[in-house]
């Protein structure tokens, strides 16, 4: 707990309290909406190629589950104790999944 408080004190900008709060909310909102979506999309991609079932079934399952993953990500972003943790909590798993997908040669950014 004290480590995170220290980190916070280090990263805290010299801003008035109200503005700091608003920026925090804005930051988390972006993280939740955009970051959450990307995390859900990456999870869907990973599950679609990894689930041990027929390809069409895997894609179905992964896509069906994606909204639950998105919701959990959003809840996490707002439950966690700082905006920084919110972003890291999305970026780190996201990067790991992207790396795995890249290694599997399956990274596809086409959303068409």
């Amino acid at each position: 707990m004290s480590a995170s408080v220290q980190t916070e004190k280090l990263l805290r900008w010299p801003l008035p309290e109200a503005l700091h709060y608003r920026l925090g909310v804005a930051s988390r909102s972006v993280a939740a909406i955009v970051g959450g979506y990307l995390l859900a999309a990456l999870s869907t991609m990973l599950l679609s190629v990894c689930l041990p079932m027929a390809r069409v079934e895997a894609v179905m399952t992964a896509t069906l589950a994606s909204f639950a993953i998105y919701t959990c990500a959003v809840l996490w972003v707002f439950a966690t104790s700082s905006a920084l943790r919110a972003w890291l909590g999305l970026l780190i798993p996201g990067a790991v999944m992207a790396a795995i997908l890249q290694w599997m040669d399956a990274l596809s950014w086409s959303l068409a």
């Binding site: 988390r28 869907t44 599950l47 179905m60 896509t63 069906l64 994606s66 707002f78």
Partner: protein, 544 residues
């Protein structure tokens, strides 16, 4: 966020709910009405009320359709036939009208002709007035209106995600969800609104979760295409042909004329194989040597929306292929989720229960918005008493609340009134009816923004009440199938049910307006509940 888990979830619940609640209210109202869209369309076409008719077998209906279309659908290359079912006593015939050479292309809608026919004779039912009917309300709840369907679906999907987050965070934050399950304390101001919100939310919680999640699922390949594109390396067509088996690609016309095989034996064969009725018949290239006839099973009580199809050669009647009879677990799950949302499988009783739960959903959204306004007004009570004006947010929310909660019933009522009062031969009649829907709503919303007062609530609730409750009278005056007639057995039950439902909703609104007696001038302290809390939300939604 920093305050602790439950508190951050409470914050999230409030904002994810409040920011989109007015759009969600529209979606819920229109969606709830859509459970009865066929019945609404029937009410809006009084010319068709008389044609009850005896039920006919699918073979008979298919044969009548075949004869009728051979006569009337000259030159069409695709036929679509919806056989009569529980919700639709008439035959629905559709075909494309290929444009003659030199004629301007009218676009997809202009090139498509559809009509309703008597299932025993194939004759066109007396041409009813042009109206989108219940289909408008159905489309409204995901395609919205006056904007591209694509943008609308993204917007509605965005709001649906907000709703999903709101529901889950609401569950997490509700400390005494079981203890407070039956708690409703009327006439206690803010607490009553909270109770009403909790009750309508928790009692239909499985429904709310289901309808929101399955709503997202119905458009999931649009919202989340990355699974498909990744696993199929961009080849979406292959995925869709695997997931939704059907004939791929268009057959080309042979150019050789050949008579179409009779439908009746095909229908009999399909019904034997499935042990269930045929719901839909489509024909490709009728009258050509390469014609094909595809039969689709009717949705019975089986919850999946995916129905198997059988494809026959259009000239010889030989079975070419069957699709969709074997389905994997995930595909079946998808079908069931889709089916749960659309609820075609539901018996009349279950459909009524879905409708009731949908009304509870409207009430949940409405009471949530009202609760926020009441709470915020109370927080600002001291400042207000000292003569300050309400904050921008509070005023905006109070005005939007009136415009949405009281305005939507006005919009619905006006739509139905316009249906009966607009002249039958009017040019672009369906568009005009819809224009009245939005015009009335716009007036209500704008007026509400100008004066968001308690008096405005009374006025708008009363207008909504009058518009809805008087519909049975209007029906009696403008058609032959008023309530009295139906009770005597002459006239469709659906029309009477519509009359009764709008009457009850209208009376509810009237009661709400009545309870909004003007406050004594001195009392500014606590906001008394505007109305009997449970009646207002249930009925303010104004779903038909």
């Amino acid at each position: 966020m920093k305050e602790g888990f439950r508190q951050s979830m409470a914050w999230l619940h409030t904002w994810s709910g409040l920011l989109v609640c007015w759009i969600l209210l529209l979606v819920f109202c229109a969606g709830t009405a859509s459970y009865y869209r066929n019945e609404i369309t029937l009410w809006m076409q009084p010319e068709l009320h008389a044609a009850a008719g005896q039920p006919v077998s699918s073979e008979q209906a298919a044969t009548a359709a075949q004869t009728a279309m051979q006569e009337r659908a000259e030159g069409a290359t695709r036929w679509f036939i919806t056989l009569p079912g529980e919700r639709n006593p008439a035959l629905q015939l559709g075909w494309n009208k290929p444009s003659k050479p030199g004629e301007k292309k009218k676009g997809r809608r202009g090139n498509f002709h559809s009509e309703k026919a008597d299932p025993s004779t194939g004759e066109v039912l007396s041409k009813p007035r042009e109206t989108r009917g219940g289909e408008f309300l159905y489309r409204l709840h995901f395609d919205l209106h006056y904007m591209s369907a694509l943008w609308a679906r993204w917007l509605v999907g965005f709001c649906a995600m907000f709703m999903l987050v709101s529901i889950i965070s609401g569950i997490v934050t509700h400390k005494r969800i079981f203890k407070d399950l039956f708690t409703f304390r009327p006439k206690k101001g803010q607490r009553s609104w909270l109770d009403a919100h909790n009750v309508t939310a928790v009692l239909a919680l499985p429904y709310h979760l289901m309808i929101t999640y399955t709503g997202l699922v119905t458009l999931m390949f649009m919202y989340m295409p990355s699974g498909v594109t990744t696993a199929y390396k961009g080849d979406q067509d292959t995925f869709f042909s695997e997931a939704f088996p059907a004939r791929v690609g268009e057959t080309k016309a042979a150019g050789v004329a050949a008579p179409l095989t009779p439908f009746a034996p095909l229908v009999r064969q399909a019904e034997q194989r499935w042990g269930a009725q045929v719901g839909f018949v489509s024909v490709n290239l009728p009258g050509d040597a390469n014609a094909t006839v595809t039969l689709r099973r009717a949705s019975g009580r089986d919850m999946s929306s995916k129905q198997p199809t059988m494809e026959f050669d259009g000239v010889t009647g030989k079975l070419l292929a069957t699709y969709g009879e074997e389905m994997g677990g995930a595909s079946n799950t998808h079908g069931v989720m889709y089916g749960l949302h659309i609820a075609n499988f539901a018996s009349p009783l279950l459909r009524a229960l879905f409708f009731l739960s949908g009304l509870a959903g409207c009430a949940m959204v409405a009471t949530g918005a009202l609760l926020w306004a009441v709470k915020t007004r109370q927080k600002q009570a001291k400042a207000l008493a000292a003569g300050k004006r309400p904050s921008f947010g509070l005023r905006l929310v109070e005005a939007l609340n009136i415009g949405a909660i009281a305005g939507i019933p006005i919009a619905f009522g006006t739509y139905f009134w316009a249906n009966r009062l607009l002249p039958v031969g009017l040019e672009e009649r369906p568009k005009e009816e819809i224009a009245f829907f939005f015009g009335a709503w716009a007036v209500a919303a704008i007026v509400a923004q100008l004066r968001p007062t308690r008096a405005m609530w009374r006025i708008q609730l009363s207008v909504g009440a009058v518009l809805l409750a008087s519909l049975p009278v209007l029906n009696g005056l403008t058609s032959g199938s008023h309530l009295g007639a139906v009770l005597l057995g002459r006239g469709p039950v659906a029309v009477a049910a519509f009359d009764l439902v709008v009457l009850v909703l209208g009376l509810g609104l009237a009661y709400a307006a009545f309870r909004l007696k003007p406050l004594p001038a001195k009392s500014v302290k606590s906001a008394k509940p505007a109305t009997k809390a449970d009646v207002t939300p249930d009925t303010a939604a104004g779903a038909a």
